[in-house]
Amino acid sequence: MALPDAASMMLAAAVGLVVIGFAGLMMSRHLYRLLLSLVIAEAGANLLLVMAGYRADAIAPIFTADASMPIGMVDPIPQAMVLTAIVIGVGVQALALAMIIRIRNHYGTLDMMELKARMQDEFAQLGQSATLPSKQEQTDAQ
C-alpha cells in the first residue's frame, strides 16, 4: 500500500489531535489534564485551519529577490488567522492556569469529581441558610 503524501497525513493528524483532545476533555478528572486536552484540541483545530490555504507546488507568500510573481503562493489569510487563534489560545490557557492555582489553594484538591461534589454542597448550603449574608459579603456582592 502506498503511503499517503505528507499533506494528507497532516490532515489526518489534525483530525486525530482534535479527537484526542475532546476525548481527554471528557474522560479526565485532573484539572491540569483537562487543560492539556484543551491545548491538544486547539492545536489540532489550528492545524486544520492553516491547511485551508495550502496549494500544491506553491511557495510561501513572501516576496524576496527570487519570488516576485504572485502566482504560485499559498493563501496568506489562513496563516494570519492561525496566528491570531494561537495567541488567543495562549491567553486562555494562562488564565486557566491562574484559576487552577487558586482552586488548589482553596480546596486542596485537583480532582474534578470531588470538586464538583463540594461545589454542589456549597450551593445546597446557600439554599438552606436562614442567616443573612454578613456585612462583608454584602459589600462584596455589590
Binding site: 483530525v15 474522560m27 496568506p76 496563516q79 496566528l83 491562574a98
Partner: protein, 231 residues
C-alpha cells in the same frame, strides 16, 4: 477504567471528522479573498511578507483584539492573585550553571527577539513571535536569581503604553485617511527595513506589549505559595 460513553462519542467524532475532511477540496484553495491579497498586498501596504500585510493591514482589527485578549488574560490573572500573600522568588540558591547560562543567553535572546519583531514585514516572524522571545528574555533572570523580581509597575506601564500606541496610530489613520487602522506613512523602499509605512511601528508596539505581558504573567504564576485568606 475507560468510560464507555466518552469513548463512543470520540469514535463518532473521529468518524464524522474524517468523512468531512475527506470531502473537503484539499490543496485546491478557492482563494476568493486570498488571490486579491496576493495581487494587491504590496500596493496597499508595501510589506514584502504578505502574512504581515494581512495581519496588520487587511485584518488589523483582529490583531488589535488579539492583543486585547492577552491583556485581559493578564489582567484577570493578576486579579486572581491580588488578594493572596505570596512569597517572592523561586530558587533559594541559584544554581551556578543556570546563572551563567542565562547570563550568556540573555543578550542573544534580546537581540533575536528585536530582530524578529523589526523584520516582521520582510521575513517570517513579527511582533508576536518576537514578543515571546522578549518575554523569555525578561523572565529568565527571575528563574536564576532569587533576588531578581520583576518590577510589575514598569511592566504595566510598558503594556499600557504599547497598547495605547497601537490604538492611537489607528485613530490617527481614522482622522487623517478616513478609516481606522489604515496603513499610514510613506511605503518607503520596498524590501528595506524602513518600508511598509506604519506596519513596523505597529509590530514594535505589539512585540513590546506581548513581551512585557507574558513576562508579567509568568512571574505572577510562578510566585510561590498562597495562603488563601478568602471565603
Amino acid at each position: 477504567m475507560l468510560q464507555f460513553f466518552p469513548l463512543l462519542f470520540s469514535a463518532g467524532l473521529l468518524f464524522l471528522l474524517t468523512i468531512v475532511t475527506g470531502l473537503l477540496p484539499f490543496a485546491q484553495a478557492p482563494m476568493l479573498a486570498g488571490q486579491g491579497v496576493l495581487y494587491d498586498g504590496i500596493a496597499s501596504t508595501g510589506a514584502a511578507n504578505l502574512v504581515t500585510a494581512v495581519v496588520l493591514g487587511y485584518r488589523g482589527i483582529d490583531t488589535l483584539m488579539e492583543l486585547t485578549i492577552l491583556f485581559a488574560a493578564a489582567a484577570a490573572g493578576s486579579l486572581a492573585f491580588s488578594r493572596v500573600r505570596r512569597s517572592a522568588g523561586l530558587i533559594a540558591e541559584p544554581p551556578y550553571i543556570l546563572d551563567k547560562a542565562i547570563g550568556f543567553l540573555l543578550p542573544l535572546l534580546l537581540v533575536t527577539g528585536f530582530y524578529v519583531i523589526l523584520h516582521g514585514h520582510l521575513t517570517p516572524g513579527g511582533g508576536f513571535q518576537g514578543g515571546v522571545l522578549l518575554a523569555s528574555a525578561i523572565f529568565l533572570p527571575v528563574l536564576s536569581r532569587s533576588s531578581a523580581q520583576l518590577n510589575h509597575e514598569v511592566i504595566s506601564l510598558i503594556e499600557g503604553l504599547a497598547g495605547v500606541t497601537f490604538i492611537v496610530i489607528g485613530l490617527l489613520a481614522l482622522y487623517q485617511q478616513g478609516a481606522f487602522l489604515q496603513p499610514l506613512f510613506d511605503h518607503g523602499v520596498f524590501g528595506s527595513l524602513l518600508s511598509a509605512g506604519s506596519l513596523p511601528v505597529l509590530y514594535l508596539a505589539v512585540g513590546l506589549k506581548v513581551g512585557a505581558e507574558l513576562a508579567g504573567l509568568l512571574s505572577t504564576l510562578a510566585a510561590e505559595g498562597g495562603e488563601d485568606g478568602t471565603a
